[in-house]
């Protein structure tokens, strides 16, 4: 089946975007842009535990909240539950 003009344009734009992104990423890496010479890591440290001596980045007293810990937990759980219900509702609608 022949592809519509719209589909061809979409495909071409997508391919050009992918190529541009890859060239850009390659240029950044080749020129070592965005790195901090004092740090022995970069974007390759995917997770916080991958960062050497991570403790120095989050001192325990970096911020002192006046609100009790349990309030944070309750809000955390309540918002999570609410969003789960919203997700279910959106998934159900339009079926």
């Amino acid at each position: 089946m022949a592809k519509s003009k719209k589909e061809i344009i979409f495909r071409v734009v997508t391919i050009l975007t992918v190529v541009a992104i890859l060239i850009c990423a390659g240029y950044i890496m080749a020129h070592r842009m965005g790195l901090n010479p004092d740090y022995d890591f970069g974007a390759g440290a995917y997770y916080y535990a991958d960062i050497p001596q991570f403790e120095r980045f989050t001192p325990t007293e970096a911020y002192k909240s006046s609100i009790p810990y349990w309030v944070h937990v309750v809000l955390f759980l309540a918002w999570g539950w609410l969003m789960y219900r919203l997700w279910c509702w959106i998934d159900k609608s339009g079926k």
């Binding site: 965005g34 974007a43 989050t58 999570g80 969003m83 997700w87």
Partner: protein, 444 residues
């Protein structure tokens, strides 16, 4: 549970036990200081441009006896545990052991390559594991004897249980309601938006891919993609796609986002929080934040720390959602026992590990000890994930990956989702930290 023997015969439960054993030994090793349980990690090496990252540094590491002892410990621990799992699953030990040693040798090469200075800074192991695996499978082909070791899900699930120990609940309050507002209000909204965009607008049938990509975009890249992908039972090519897109865009965002923040004249605390909420990998967040100064760096890392906690919760809700809504057949409501049957049990292990670290080990032994334990566990987690990603590469062909692009929809889903993520996070940052509505917090 259909049978009590599922507890030790099924891959999901085995991941819980094996991950638990590694955590237990690491805790004993660190807390008693009786022995060194740390796994192998390569020093960063390079081609002589930096003082520390040189080929000589690599040579020095290879010449040290400790390096080979750690290699032996790593291969022994992972080999014995996974072989035990395979044996209990009814597999052939005779076939698995040589295959595992072959796979470990490939994983060793992957980690060696990804320790090169530039590759280490930007792409690291996930990318190179996929590339090396794909190169082998699409050129010379995977030898028959190596195939018994390709057990992607088993390695991923075990790695995730180990990772659970590093998810500390105390971090929820590290930046008060400001951090919670930026990290937790925005994240699920972005996930739901991307779900709606992917399934309703783009009409993508591959729902596990949509949710894996959404989690990678809104939570924290590779780690979130691995957890959510396993929770939604996504295909290996889905995970490949989500992780590759996330890694490449992280490189771009790490460089361009601080530039944009500077150009707009945003305050350091706002700019840092925006970076923390939107740049995928934690390492990139710290580096990008540091270019805006100390306060921005702290804000960026604090927001990202909260997002790191979300991995388990998002994976849990995704698992429940897929068990009750996506994987069900017919209109009949799924009962509790059916949900339990379908529910990926390794998530229980992930949560239990997280709860033990947060509410038992941390209060009793202190944050420093938990940090020391996690330093040991992180390498085992990485080895498990490298084995998994190398397996994915070995088990995938380029045609399958091209098909996964679904005519470009995957790319646009990520791009539009990420733009929405940045816009919404910017709004939350402005609302909470601009001083227009709430007082601006001070970071020490």
């Amino acid at each position: 549970m259909k049978s009590f023997s599922d507890f030790w015969k099924k891959e999901d439960w085995q991941a819980v036990w094996l991950g638990g054993i590694v955590i237990l030994i690491a805790c004993i090793a660190v807390l008693t200081k009786a022995f060194d349980f740390s796994a192998l990690k390569f020093s960063t090496w390079g081609f002589g441009e930096s003082d520390t990252a040189t080929l000589a540094a690599l040579g020095k590491q290879f010449a040290a006896g400790a390096f080979w002892v750690k290699t032996l410990v790593t291969v022994a621990v992972t080999g014995v545990l996974f072989t035990l799992g395979v044996k209990l699953q009814g597999g052939s030990v005779k076939e698995y052991v040589p295959a595992f040693l072959g796979l470990f040798a490939l994983a060793f090469i992957v980690r060696l390559v990804s320790a090169e200075f530039t590759l280490n800074r930007y792409l690291e192991w996930a990318f190179w594991a996929l590339i090396i695996g794909l190169l082998i499978s699409n050129t010379v082909g995977v030898p028959k004897w190596l195939k018994p070791a390709i057990k992607t899900e088993f390695y991923i699930k075990t790695g995730l249980v180990i990772m659970g120990f590093s998810v500390l609940f105390s971090n929820i309050a590290k930046f008060g309601l400001y951090g919670l507002g930026i990290a937790w209000i925005v994240t699920p909204v972005v996930i739901i938006f991307m779900w709606w965009l992917g399934t309703k607008v783009f009409k993508m049938d591959n729902k596990p891919l949509v949710i894996t990509l959404a989690a990678a975009t809104s939570v924290c890249g590779t780690s979130a993609a691995i957890a959510t992908g396993a929770a939604s039972n996504c295909k290996k090519t889905d995970l490949t796609m989500a992780v590759s897109i996330s890694i490449i865009f992280t490189v771009l965002m790490m460089v361009f986002e601080p530039m944009i923040v500077k150009a707009t004249g945003m305050s350091p605390i706002m700019g840092g929080s925006l970076i923390g909420g939107t740049v995928d990998s934690t390492g990139a967040v710290a580096v990008a934040g540091s270019t805006l100064g100390g306060e921005a760096e702290k804000a960026a890392v604090l927001v990202k720390m909260i997002q790191n906690i979300l991995i388990g919760f998002i994976a849990f809700f995704v698992a429940v959602f897929f068990a009750t809504r996506v994987d069900k057949t017919g209109e009949k409501k799924v009962g509790a026992s059916e949900i339990w049957t379908r529910f990926p049990k390794f998530i229980i292990g992930f949560f239990v590990a997280s709860l033990i670290a947060s509410f038992i080990i941390q209060p009793l032994a202190g944050a420093d000890q938990v940090s020391a334990i996690n330093k040991v566990l992180d390498q085992y987690k990485n080895w498990a994930f490298v084995l998994a990603f190398t397996s994915i590469g070995l088990d995938t062909n380029f045609k399958e990956i091209a098909k996964q692009m679904q005519g470009g929809k995957v790319l646009w889903l990520y791009l539009i989702g990420q733009i929405f993520n940045i816009a919404l996070t910017f709004f939350a940052v402005w609302f909470l930290l601009s001083g227009a509505i709430f007082p601006i917090p001070t970071l020490n």
